[in-house]
């Protein structure tokens, strides 16, 4: 074999400009991906727009009293003729119910979830931890109607027992008072079910946040002779406080939007009920389900407006929660 003579190009190579413009195939690819990527933006926009425009006529006539009003009277007959009285639509009582049930859920659920997350992060052996983390994930995937059914048939009895005790010993506080000692299907029990429903998500987020506590600081605390309690109080908690708050807010968003479980457990009555042990109340979502079946055309519009309020509320809570959580976890190691 002979070595081929390489001919030097003549004249010498010319410098050329590099092209950074993607090829046609890549341009097509990128635009398709962008189209898919913006689908969530489009969907969210469409949801807000449709619910707003469908409910617009009600929102306009009711104005601010749609939020603050405590009466929901639909006196339009189903064939469209006007009923005997004036229709008014105000979701105030149900907004209040939403906040009350969600507050009960947070009061019970968040401490349990944070303690469980502490156990998972700082106490559990690795194997048990991995198993329990899967259990928590599985629990988060349980359908809400399962929680509703379980709440109605299983949780109701111990829930009523606790409600009775609360009424017996703390009945002098107005929210624990009841006119007659019947504790069935109260907002308290709905709050208990919601607490069970938000525990997995709050536990999962808190555990992730706790696990991001910098290891060197944990070990520094131990090296200074700290007990576990001192370490958690002085290192883990300050570090993860805001992330846990964000996790709790994600739970709040979930509790505020829950429909089926609340509808199943609670005795849905349209009234503003502060007495959490009294069997009457509801939340916005369960109210929509209840009225939807036999609603007239105008009432459907009012329900759309209620849905719009619910959408904005939960979206706002979720966005704030995600913002807090992501800001906390970005600080991680």
């Amino acid at each position: 074999m002979t070595i081929a003579e390489i001919e030097r190009p003549n004249p010498a190579p010319v410098p050329r400009a590099l092209e950074t413009k993607p090829r046609i195939s890549d341009q097509i690819f990128r635009s398709i991906v962008a189209l898919g990527g913006f689908s969530s933006l489009i969907i969210l926009g469409l949801i807000a727009a449709y619910l707003f425009f469908r409910g617009y006529s009600i929102l306009r006539t009711e104005g601010l009293s749609f939020i603050t009003g405590y009466e929901w009277v639909s006196s339009i007959n189903s064939d469209g003729t006007a009923g005997s009285e004036q229709s008014t639509y105000g979701v105030g009582a149900m907004l209040l119910g939403t906040l009350v049930t969600a507050a009960i859920a947070l009061t019970i659920g968040v401490p349990v979830a944070v303690l469980a997350a502490l156990y998972l992060t700082f106490f559990a052996p690795v194997r048990i931890r991995n198993f329990l983390v899967s259990v928590v994930d599985l629990m988060a995937a349980f359908p809400s109607i399962l929680f509703g059914l379980w709440g109605l048939y299983v949780l109701m009895e111990p829930g009523m027992y606790v409600a009775e005790l609360l009424n017996k010993y703390l009945g002098w506080i107005p929210i624990f008072a009841v006119p007659v000692p019947v504790f069935l299907r109260s907002p308290f029990i709905a709050g208990l079910v919601l607490a069970v429903m938000i525990i997995p998500i709050v536990t999962a987020i808190s555990r992730e946040i706790f696990a991001q506590t910098p290891l060197d600081r944990i070990q520094a605390a131990y090296a200074l002779g700290a007990s576990k309690w001192a370490m958690i109080k002085n290192v883990a908690f300050p570090y993860s406080y805001s992330g846990v708050v964000g996790g709790a807010m994600l739970g709040l968003g979930r509790a505020m939007g829950e429909t089926v479980a609340v509808f199943t457990v609670l005795n849905i009555l349209y009234q503003a009920n502060f007495k959490i042990l009294l069997g009457a109340g509801g939340n916005l979502a369960s109210h929509i389900i209840l009225k939807f079946g036999e609603a007239s055309e105008e009432e459907i519009k009012a329900l759309m407006a209620a849905g719009f309020v619910l959408f904005l509320m939960t979206l706002g809570v979720n966005m704030l929660a995600n913002f807090i959580v992501s800001r906390t976890s970005r600080r991680g190691r």
Partner: protein, 345 residues
């Protein structure tokens, strides 16, 4: 001479013996308290057991090693209480579903529908054939819609990183938290109300897709982030275009993770009830066509049984939940298995 290292952080035999003794004593004390006072039932027993054992352990470690140790014991006790309160509902739910879920299941349960029998009829008639078919249709259609959109969203966030990807990531997270009832109301207001179109399985699938897209997108994004950048650079260095790199290198590398994302998405929507109440109509007869007419689904079947209220209907509701639960467990097990295979490799 060999020296065995000591492990001072390990509990000694004496510690363990003390702990067991305290726990046993607390059980006995709680039992006597319940027997001699107005409280009754298992719930107060557990509560008093918790109070007694934590107090006793705190006092003992406080006497032995001081105030800080006592606080430490209280914290450990509280953490176990948290664990208990977390596991109690799970165990109770699983146990209830298993013990009550099989009463209504008989030979013809999967081959008949409810068109001939009301929900309160005896348990040897009627079944969930219509609901199974409906749920399968809904899942298939929701998959067809939301898997491409979810994975494209994930690709936009990880591969092309186009303008506004931070905003999109934020919106996808927020979208995964919108209440399911809002998705149903939206489909109803946009596509059913006032258009002359009626309820159908397809409408239900659209509503479910809204809930499924964020789940798929978020999990897929996590998975695509795990693909090492070297692989992408290697693809590009071989002269592949970005599109070829993604299609032939990145996606195959993340295959099992993407399947996990899809499975988790299905598990998310399989039991959703609220959106279906606004969109599918919930038939009792078998309907094979998802584009037209009311369609029954398993969640709707459970819902109807729940509304009916008779004991037979309650058994039917539990049976429906049992089937749904088996499906969710199977999906979850598969997802776990796949993600474990990925991390091992």
């Amino acid at each position: 001479m060999t020296v065995t290292p000591i492990k001072p952080w390990r509990a000694t035999k004496r510690d363990i013996a003390t702990q067991i003794a305290v726990l046993l004593a607390s059980v006995v004390a709680a039992y006597f308290l319940i027997a001699n006072t107005g409280f009754e039932g298992r719930l107060p027993l557990v509560i008093f057991f918790g109070i007694f054992s934590i107090t006793a352990l705190a006092i003992i470690s406080g006497l032995r090693r001081g105030k800080e140790a006592a606080k430490d014991a209280v914290l450990a006790g509280a953490a176990y209480v948290g664990l208990f309160a977390l596991l109690l509902p799970v165990v109770s739910i699983l146990w209830t579903v298993i013990s009550r879920g099989t009463a209504a299941i008989y030979g013809g349960f999967f081959t008949t529908d409810m068109s001939q029998d009301p929900f309160s009829s005896p348990l040897d008639a009627g079944g969930i054939k219509h609901a199974l078919i409906g749920t399968l249709w809904l899942i298939v259609i929701a998959l067809i819609i939301s898997v491409p959109l979810g994975i494209l969203t994930a690709l936009y966030l990880t591969e092309t990183k186009g303008p506004g990807s931070g905003l999109i990531r934020f919106l996808v997270q927020a979208m995964s938290g919108i209440p399911s009832i809002v998705a149903g109301l939206f489909i109803y207001s946009a596509l059913i109300s006032g258009t002359g179109r009626g309820f159908s399985g397809f409408m239900g699938a659209l509503a479910l897709s809204i809930l499924m897209i964020p789940t798929v997108a978020r999990t897929a994004e996590e998975v695509l982030k795990l693909v090492p950048p070297d692989l992408r650079e290697a693809g590009l260095a071989l002269g592949a275009t970005q599109w070829k790199t993604v299609a032939l290198v990145v996606l195959p590398a993340a295959k099992s993770g993407l399947v996990t994302a899809v499975i988790l998405g299905v598990a998310r929507i399989a039991g959703e009830t609220a959106p279906l109440l606004f969109t599918t109509g919930g038939a009792d007869a078998t309907n094979l066509n998802p584009m037209d007419d009311n369609m029954g689904t398993i969640p709707f079947y459970i819902w109807k049984a729940l509304i009916d209220g008779s004991p037979e209907a309650a058994s039917r509701a539990w049976a429906g939940i049992f089937i749904l639960m088996l499906a969710v467990l199977a999906l979850f097990g598969t997802a776990r298995y796949l993600s474990r295979a990925r991390t091992v490799r």
